[in-house]
């Protein structure tokens, strides 16, 4: 019986060998059958190499099937096939070499190859080469994306090999860039890495920085004696300096068992408390242990008596630290590589700095245009008519709420904004005219009292808004084409809403200039501003002009409200958030002049962003410092940046 079986096996082996002539892949697999079935990360390397080294066209199919756990072994003869599930119990097997189906088999006759994740990762590395040169561009892109996301040095050769045959120009560019990045990070030849770094220096992409930064990772290490020559040392640190506080250095010693643990204040107290003996600790009465020297003395006595273990006190730290040398050491052994990486990063950071400056400038411009929009109405009412309108902020709020109400009726966001802007202008224009007629006109020449009266109107309007719309924030949604941002590169980006506000601010600057310089109303306004008595003698009705001017200023505030509401939540306090800044814009810029308001808004916007840049986490501090700066600025130019002179100044 035994003999027959042996004979059968021999025969089978002979058949196999015969087949090996036309099934080369199967032969390679059979040679490594044991290792493949019991695969592990440590042992599988040679197998994969063998499969790839065969250089057969089937290699990719085999590796893919293997990685996807679709490779099955026929129990009867130990051959490997690509298995395809037909139903729960049946699988159709396909031969790797011929690509032809071999037949359908019951699951019981087959054994599935189940490579673990480590093995699959290794197969994946081998596969990259094929995927990167795959005829299908989508597959090439997928492979590229996964490699970009998770770069590794093993794929470098495959990537280089695939570049020559790349036909898609977009993919080619990405491949070349990735090749440079991988060369920087993983090439075995330091010269090649340095060359790649020099080439990529000045590239502001996040990926370049992400590749360079790990190379410059340095770890704090302790040395008993001098630092070995072979070490690539970033810097030697002295304990107690800013970069290496004493506690950090000592903790490192403790961690490496080079020094006993430091006893903390609390621990010492607890140990003392545990050793209270008849109202005394180490011979010192408990009541006297309310100073540190007394506690240390008691602790020392306890140590002498052997009641507790000796521990380092803060005085002894110094002597421990002086025995060792502390240094930050690069993980990367080559000095030339780290130097080149540091240089490349430095040149990149210069570029990034420039980019950030541009970004900051754009931010500042958009903030300036918001302030300008908010202040342009004030520049008219306060600047031209010398009336402090404390309710100006509430006109902004009214405009924003108008936008909100319009959106309740017009669901299309684009249409609703187009409707809301003129409607907000109309509503606030009417409110402004009503206020001028009812209140302001009795208070010309009494600016302080007009301030109080308009403040009264301001709190009344604010409370009214609260009563109508509630205290919670209402959304004013921007049209979808204003979503997103205009991205120049990884550093510079600006959202479309801010661009729109900038354009709106420019538009209203134009409108204001047109009205003031080219229309009858503008002429009359300028006349009334300069000399109301004379203007009245010339047939101008000052009351009517004041009314219209005030209405115009209020109307623009309403439009500003719609714009501000697009990026800020609409609440009844929306206006009061901007009112002080608006006043300062006008005062800093210079009263009675639209260019002044523009200069003031620009200065405040740039200054606020500039201060925020120094301390980005703290916008409150930025505003505080900005106001202090403005108070000091007023010292030097009490009449603002653009001060009117001569007759136009009025007084």
């Amino acid at each position: 019986m035994m003999r027959i079986l042996l004979a059968a096996l021999l025969l089978l082996a002979a058949v196999c060998r015969v087949q090996a002539q036309d099934t080369p892949m199967q032969a390679v697999l059979q040679d490594n059958a044991d290792l493949m079935v019991k695969s592990s990360r440590q042992t599988i390397g040679p197998v994969i190499d063998a499969v790839v080294a065969s250089g057969l066209p089937q290699v990719q199919d085999v590796l893919q099937a293997w990685q996807a756990k679709e490779m099955w072994q026929r129990k009867a003869d130990g051959l490997f096939f690509h298995g395809e599930k037909l139903d729960a119990k049946t699988y159709r097997l396909t031969d790797f070499d011929s690509g032809l189906p071999v037949g359908e088999f019951a699951k019981g006759d087959l054994r599935q190859l189940k490579p673990n994740s480590g093995v699959r990762a290794l197969i994946g590395v081998a596969l990259v080469k094929f995927q990167l040169s795959d005829p299908d561009p989508t597959k090439r892109r997928d492979a590229l994306v996964s490699l970009e996301r998770d770069p590794n040095g093993a794929a470098l050769e495959a990537l280089r090999a695939s570049i020559a045959g790349e036909t898609d120009p977009a993919l080619l560019a990405r491949k070349q860039r990735l090749e440079r990045l991988l060369t920087m990070g993983y090439d075995t030849d330091p010269a090649a890495r340095i060359a790649a770094m020099e080439e990529m220096a000045g590239d502001t992409g996040l990926d370049v920085r992400a590749t360079l930064n790990p190379i410059l990772q340095a770890r704090l290490q302790v040395f008993d004696g001098e630092i070995p020559e072979a070490m690539n040392v970033l810097s030697r640190l002295e304990p107690g300096s800013d970069t290496l506080p004493v506690t950090v250095a000592y903790d490192l010693l403790v961690e490496q068992s080079k020094a006993p643990a430091l006893i903390s204040h609390d621990d010492m107290r607890n140990i003392l408390a545990e050793n209270i003996d008849g109202g005394r600790v180490g011979g010192i009465p408990v009541a006297k242990l309310d100073t540190d020297p007394a506690r240390r003395q008691a602790f020392a006595t306890l140590v002498e008596q052997g009641l507790t273990e000796a521990a380092t006190t803060e005085d002894e730290i110094e002597s421990y630290l002086s025995d060792y040398i502390f240094a930050e050491v690069y993980a990367e052994p080559s000095r030339a590589v780290t130097d080149a990486a540091a240089m490349a990063l430095e040149s990149i950071s210069t570029r990034v700095g420039i980019g950030q400056a541009v970004d900051l400038t754009l931010d500042a411009l958009s903030l300036a245009s918001i302030y300008f929009l908010a202040a342009i109405g004030l520049a008219i009412t306060f600047g031209v008519m010398r009336v402090i309108n404390m309710a100006h902020g509430e006109f902004i709020m009214m405009g924003a709420y108008t936008g909100y109400v319009v959106q309740q009726w017009v669901p299309n966001h684009t249409a609703s904004i187009i409707v809301a802007i003129p409607l907000a202008f109309t509503v606030t224009f009417a409110a402004g005219v009503a206020m001028e007629r009812l209140v302001i006109r009795w208070l010309y020449n009494r600016p302080l009292e007009s301030l109080l009266a308009t403040f009264g109107i301001s709190i009344a309007l604010q409370q009214l808004a609260k009563n109508i719309f509630g205290t919670q924030a209402r959304p004013l949604t921007a049209p979808s084409w204003l979503d997103g941002a205009w991205v120049l590169n990884d550093v510079v980006a600006i959202s479309y809403i801010r661009i729109a506000i900038f354009v709106l601010a420019l538009f209203f600057l134009g409108v204001f200039l047109f009205i003031m310089r080219r229309t009858r109303l503008g002429l009359e306004t300028r006349a009334v501003t300069q000399n109301p008595g004379m203007a009245a003698s010339m047939g101008i009705n000052p009351g009517r002009v004041n009314m219209l001017t005030f209405g115009l200023g209020s109307g623009i505030a309403g439009v500003a409200g719609v714009a501000i509401g697009l990026f800020a939540k609409v609440t009844s306090e929306l206006g009061s958030d901007y009112i002080v800044q608006s006043f300062m814009t006008v005062v800093v810029g210079g009263v009675g002049n639209i260019w002044g308001a523009l200069a003031g808004a620009t200065m405040i916007g740039f200054m606020q962003k500039g201060i925020e840049w120094f301390n980005p986490s703290n916008t409150l501090a930025a505003q505080t410092f900005m106001i202090v700066f403005i108070i000091i600025f007023i010292q030097f130019r009490p009449r603002g940046i653009v001060a009117l002179r001569g007759r136009a100044a009025g007084d």
């Binding site: 204040h265 309310d290 009494r446 109107i457 008595g533 005062v587 108070i631």
Partner: protein, 409 residues
Amino acid sequence: MQRSFITRNPSVLIFLALLALFTLGVTVLSEAFGIGLISTSYVKVLGKTLCLALVAVAMDLVWGYCGILSLGHFAFFGLGGYMIGMWLMYERTRDIVVGALAEAPIPPTEQEIVDGIGTQIFGVVGSNEFPLIWSFADSLTLQLALVVVVPGTLALIFGWLAFRSRVNDVYLSILTQAMTLALALYLFQNDSGLRGNNGLSGLQNLPGVEQPQSHVSMWFLWASALALGLGYLLSAWIVAGKFGSVIRGIRDNEARVRFLGYSVETYKLTVFTLTACIAGIAGALYYPQAGIINPAEVAPITSIYLAAWVAIGGRGRLYGAVLGAVFVSLVSSWFTGGKAPDIPLGIYTVQWVDWWLVLLGLSFVAVTLFAPKGLGGLVDLWVERRSPNRHGADLGPDLGSLREKEASQ
């Protein structure tokens, strides 16, 4: 013949008498020392109102008499509160920490106590160390001195900067508003060292005092009444003399006073700084009664309210400021406290909690338009002191000396 200060200003005596009478009345009606008709919480409201009256007197001095519409005097008020609040909070937390550590087997060291206080106070802002500005928090004397010194110094620096560059009128108002906004924004930061948004709390508990709140609140009422009386007397004395004439002159025509040889800036600076100190004292008495102070207290709006009280009471007369502050804050607490009856209008019911601010705002407008003299004008009717008939609208204390035509030129 030189008449005495009191005979020239009978209103001072009347005011002090009324204040004494009020204090006596509250004491008799209080829970602690009398028949208990006024609850402790209402005693606190009255005590706080007296403090507001004191800061209104300061505001009247600087605005009604000197013509500087400061929209930042509540910054000084708040700073005074913060200064006393630091001591109250420190000492009270110290009591708690010492009590907690007394349980431990080993007596605490000084440093442990201080660390414990630091953790207790600054835990909410994620810190446990005392910032530099708390250096004197353990000394009542020094903190009391700071109540005057800190607002005074701020006012001195700010005023010196503003007045020497001749920032006037509405510009000055906006600048003072910017100052209080800057202070509020600064205090809102967690690392300002004054607990940011949380502010200082638990100030109603006097450290080392066993008596119940009913007693403590009465002490503060007396202290507030005393401070108001002294502050009123000081202000009345200042405005009655030559100094008062000069600052009224500055209000009415600054240029003319300057040409007469007076150092206008020095006068303004003196008044500004002095009133800041008075405001600081008022704040130091107010916040222990309120129990909590946070940066919202120095937001610009509070200072505008202060100006509105003085306007409603009648600026340019000290009792007017007191009248305005007391009237508006008491009426305000009556309306917002939900005690005012709702007005049903058929389809809509006017609830005063919601509508009180609308009414208040409109009454500001009404007062500035129709009654520039404010509530103080009613006193004129009472004593039948008639203004000279200047044939036109009444323009209030500053422009009131002019004819309407003159004023509007």
